[in-house]
Amino acid sequence: MRSQFFIPLLLFFPLLVVQTTIIPLFAFLNAIPDLILILLVFYSILNGQIYGTILGFVFGFLFDLITGSLLGSAMLSKTMAGFIAGYFSNENKRDIYLRSYTFSLIVLLSAVIDSMVYSFFSTADIQKNLLLIFFEQGMVPGLYTAVLSIIVIIFIPKRGIS
């Protein structure tokens, strides 16, 4: 159990470095992909829903603490994202989910919810059309993250995931 958390936490810090230094250079329509979320979804599918929820909470906590964003906002959104991604953790289907484009769809779903919750808790006034907010703050970063998650499918080892 300890090593189950150790590896994702070990991967978290270099990914956060990339997320805050290199990834902003690739912003599209003011949206940037979320590498932390891809890592979270991957390990949530691999290890289950409770694990995903806790890992999301820990990732969110560290993210808020380190990047200076409102403490609690990423905690909340990543906890929910981990919970949703963990829903797809099934011993029989794990391989199918992680090795096919289904993984990107799960990332898309989790990323949209993550972005929506994050912006809901950190934006003061919501005067715009809800559908527009859903598109700009949820779908665009979610789609971008989902597209980037294809890299995981390509580079995932053929054997011995679990």
Binding site: P24, M80, A124
Partner: protein, 277 residues
């Protein structure tokens, strides 16, 4: 009772964990202004920024050539502008002397590089590679050659986090450079706007927006952006003025921290005045 809880846990443990962690997150949201939390955060981002600084240096070195080209051109343009401003400065000194006015333009510029960016729709912030050791304090404005970027939010010994203009917690008094009309500018999560501007005020698309001397945060004029539109024109008595910031927050790499902070004396005086009312 124990059996009841055991059964609940067995059947709904995923949901129980989720609810507990969501409640913990909500509690964390309410603890943001605590001094202890601020201290922990400054230690955390300070340590992390040491690592991101190395990566940023590598990226900056790769970009330094094109940056040099741009800076050379900017230098030439600025040299011409400085010459003109010098003339104005001499004239200004003379006129101020005649009017016996105080000069409020004494401040230092501390150069810094951005080591990491946290860009999102509502709470964009940047981490820079100077901190309290370099006399950086919370509340100091962060600028570059294009205009205002944000203000310092917190500092560690060697690093500081600044809220950018695209942060909903950042509100600033600004003014229209042409018509001298003041207003409160804020980030809505979508646009940078001056809110509740009476329709009778003279603000037009294309006007330059600068910081206002009425601001207790940045009391010296720094370019902020340009007016690109007026909203809610049909209804009500107020307009909402949309501004396009001069600074491109995605591309910005090098910044200056201005050595000015809010005047405590002025703040205290104003607070006392309002309390007496």
């Amino acid at each position: 009772m124990f059996r009841f809880f055991t059964r609940i846990w067995t059947q709904f443990k995923e949901y129980v964990v989720l609810v507990i962690l969501l409640v913990a997150s909500l509690i964390a949201l309410s603890l943001n202004q605590k001094q202890e939390i601020k201290k922990v955060r400054s230690v955390a981002f300070g340590s992390f920024a040491t690592i991101t600084a190395i990566i940023s240096d590598v990226i900056n070195t790769a970009k330094v050539h094109s940056e040099n080209e741009r800076l050379r051109k900017a230098n030439a343009e600025l040299m011409l502008q400085v010459n003109r401003l010098r003339e104005y400065g001499v004239l200004n000194e003379q006129l101020k002397g005649m009017l016996a006015m105080k000069d409020t333009f004494n401040f230092s510029l501390i150069p810094a590089a951005i080591v990491s960016k946290s860009l999102n729709k509502s709470q964009s912030s940047i981490t820079i590679n100077i901190g309290s050791r370099d006399s950086v304090k919370a509340g100091m404005p962060v600028i570059n050659d294009q205009g205002l970027i944000g203000i310092i939010q917190s500092t560690s010994e060697d690093y500081a986090i600044a809220r950018t203009l695209k942060n909903i917690d950042f509100k600033l008094t600004v003014k229209d450079e042409r018509s001298r009309v003041d207003g409160i500018m804020k980030w809505t999560g979508e646009d940078l706007v001056i809110v509740d501007v009476p329709k009778t005020y003279d603000i037009e698309p294309g006007d330059r927006i600068i910081t206002s001397e009425l601001s207790s945060i940045i009391p010296i004029p720094i370019p902020v952006g340009v007016v690109i539109g007026l909203n809610k024109v049909e209804t009500g008595i107020f307009n909402e003025v949309t501004i396009k910031p001069y600074v491109d927050f995605i591309k910005v790499e090098n910044v200056f921290v201005m050595g000015v902070i809010q005047s405590k004396q002025r703040n205290d005086l104003e607070l006392n005045f309002y309390r007496q009312k």
